[in-house]
Symmetry: C2
Subunit: 408 residues, 2 copies
């Protein structure tokens, strides 16, 4: 029975330009943390990610949702979590503040993730193991598929999961080899050219086969110069992704993305406003075969459905600490599987939670084991930080979702 | 110079089922109020609307934005308000909590509306008068047109406004006749059949030529029965709108909207999830010529642009206390004018602010003077409540935007 609920506002200053992009010159990586402790003393930890200011508002909204869980048994909660998620996300007065987006939805992510962590802690298994071992029915019972009826109802979700069962053993070797990572920290926006060059060399030396550069400068020439620096330093065998953090208007994106094609980007990420699905459609058609990657700022399954229907995203960057938590992340992963689009999470959690979820996506849903973003900056804050060897995430063995933070 | 900033959390309980719809069984109409007082003692009041729970979070976010205005001169602020709006809405840490949606955007609406009110108060004119008398350049300088470049840049906005100048005098007669209203309160969700019948008769007796009924029951037969009751009581000469408050899945909406066509609805409002533009496109095509009305839960100009591009909305129900305030409301009204779609605001403000904005839309932008929603429930809370005579909003004469609330 869930006895104690604690909400914590945790903020971590970054240094030396780390975390900077075209929009965020000075972010403070922050977590709105929900801790659920049951009467046996087991504690589940979940959080949503913010960039500092307003983290306290997410905490307050999380306290509102979490209060509904007091006195409940976690196994009973998780046996019907999809319906609980539906009820909480549609709480009649709070709903106006979204619906299903913004602060209230971030808060729901924090609470949802604490539930999944507590569940795995109680069972004494890593979250990836718990999720891969559930029956298809148990798994779908944790999901809220409402407003997806036109493309993915309960029966279709069950069929999709069952359809991957036969080939599952082939994919379990990933647990031994580890899940590939990619390095996002070679080219933060504020880094100068020499630092970018040096970081590229170091990342490749550490075994990464894919790197990401922040673009979206007011000066397009800067973007083009830096992109070519990364390509030249990395060579043709390394994947290079470009991330514009929504800075371009559609006319500007059409122009600069066309120029950037010459350095052969693996994807171009968040070229313009994340709500502008139509603009992404126009851009994707214009710059094909270079694909777009989106999702960091897409708040819920319904908008992801629209993106997938519009066929303009080559990669979906769902984030379980931005969406409504693990439950909606799985829902979006199912949608992506249906549309044949890879899920490459944005890692507001620094990969702690997502290392479990990409293993699940690969083993259970049959998603390709492409690579998972790696951001090292908060590594020392976690009780069980991710382990990267030769550019690969090592399979976590601790019980839970690896989200417990070291006490301040 | 803005000297004092006060944020107030005002909540008003409703009684007897008023305000109820398919989602909101028990709303508490609430305002997150921003008051800006300048050193001459003039006070500007603006607010965002919520349904109760969480109104305090909007207040806290509004305090964050409003603090940026301290010490500024309101005329200087408004001469370049579009850029200020752009900077505030993209404040680099806060932006993650949206962007441009949810609690942070509601908060920005509250602060924006206080600025427009203070501006009109200082000039000693009603807001509709101030807005209709600005030059095209001054008007466009209050707008943030970013991310609309593909359909409406600054030059296109100016041309659109100037193009309506010649015919403007013809439309000023609306100031004498008053702006038509429609009655939303005949059929709240919780009202029984007899009360709906009685309310219809009373509304028609009071001069309303258009009525709205809440639908979206779990029992489709109830919706159909109530819709026919309103049609039979009102007769064929009255417009009847149906509002489902997002309760239907797409498959359900396709079925029930087809049934509802027989009572000839003027529009069907919010049939399904407000983020699901693709579903609205499918539904609009299936039930044509019955049009859809959407907007109450659409948070920003970018998503409205996508709705307009998808050509699935026959009416756009922008709300200046839900969008980023008066500024973004005007931007959306310009977009709608470009696409030839009428703006029929949702009135979270009970029409206090929107009575000014629809006069502006008609006189200055050439929008048709269709009708404005009328909800009487908070009438006694305002210093200058709207005046309805023979079903028409009488032109407000007091300085400002009519948003000042009576002190508790």
């Amino acid at each position: 029975m869930i006895r104690n609920i604690t909400i914590r506002d945790r903020r971590f200053a970054l240094s030396g330009g780390a975390g900077s992009d075209a929009v965020h010159r000075d972010p403070v990586y922050s977590y709105a943390v929900t801790e659920l402790t049951d009467d046996s003393g087991v504690k589940g930890t979940g959080f949503a990610f913010t960039l500092g200011e307003g983290n306290e508002l997410v905490c307050k909204a999380a306290a509102f949702y979490a209060s509904r869980l007091k006195g409940l048994d976690i196994e009973a909660v998780m046996a019907d979590f999809g319906n609980l998620f539906n009820r909480l996300s549609n709480e009649q007065q709070f709903r106006w503040l979204g619906p299903h987006k913004g602060i209230v939805h971030l808060a729901l992510a924090s609470v949802t993730n604490a539930c999944f962590d507590l569940w795995a802690q109680k069972r004494g298994v890593p979250l990836w193991k718990l999720l891969t071992d559930l029956t298809a029915e148990q798994l779908v019972a944790t999901l809220d598929l409402s407003y997806l009826e036109d493309v993915l109802d309960r029966e279709a979700a069950l069929a999709l999961i069952r359809g991957e069962e036969a080939t599952r053993p082939l994919r379990e070797s990933i647990l031994e080899t580890g899940y590939p990572g990619y390095d996002t920290s070679v080219g933060w926006f504020n880094y100068d050219d020499e630092k970018v060059r040096e970081n590229c060399r170091r990342a490749i030396g550490r075994g990464f086969g894919a790197l990401k550069l922040k673009v979206g400068s007011e000066d397009a020439e800067r973007d083009i110069r830096r992109a070519h620096i990364v390509r030249e330093t990395a060579g043709d065998g390394v994947k290079v992704m470009l991330d514009a953090n929504q800075q371009w208007t559609l006319p500007a994106a059409l122009k600069i993305c066309t120029s950037l094609r010459s350095m052969n980007p693996y994807w171009i990420e968040e070229p313009t406003h994340p709500d502008d699905i139509a603009a992404h459609g126009v851009l994707a058609a214009a710059i094909a075969p270079v694909p777009l990657a989106i999702g960091e700022h897409v708040p819920n399954r319904v908008i992801f459905k629209n993106y997938l229907q519009a066929k303009c995203a080559g990669f979906i960057q769902a984030d379980a600490v931005r969406l409504g938590g693990v439950s909606e992340f799985i829902t979006v992963s199912l949608l992506c599987r249906k549309y044949g689009i890879p899920v490459v999470p944005h890692v507001g959690d620094m990969g702690q939670l997502h290392q479990h979820l990409v293993l699940f996506n690969h083993i259970r849903l049959g998603h390709e084991a492409l690579f998972l973003e790696h951001i090292p900056h908060l590594q020392k804050q976690f009780v069980h930080p991710v382990q990267i060897i030769d550019g690969r995430y090592q399979t976590p063995q601790e019980a839970g979702s690896s989200c417990a933070l070291i006490d301040p």
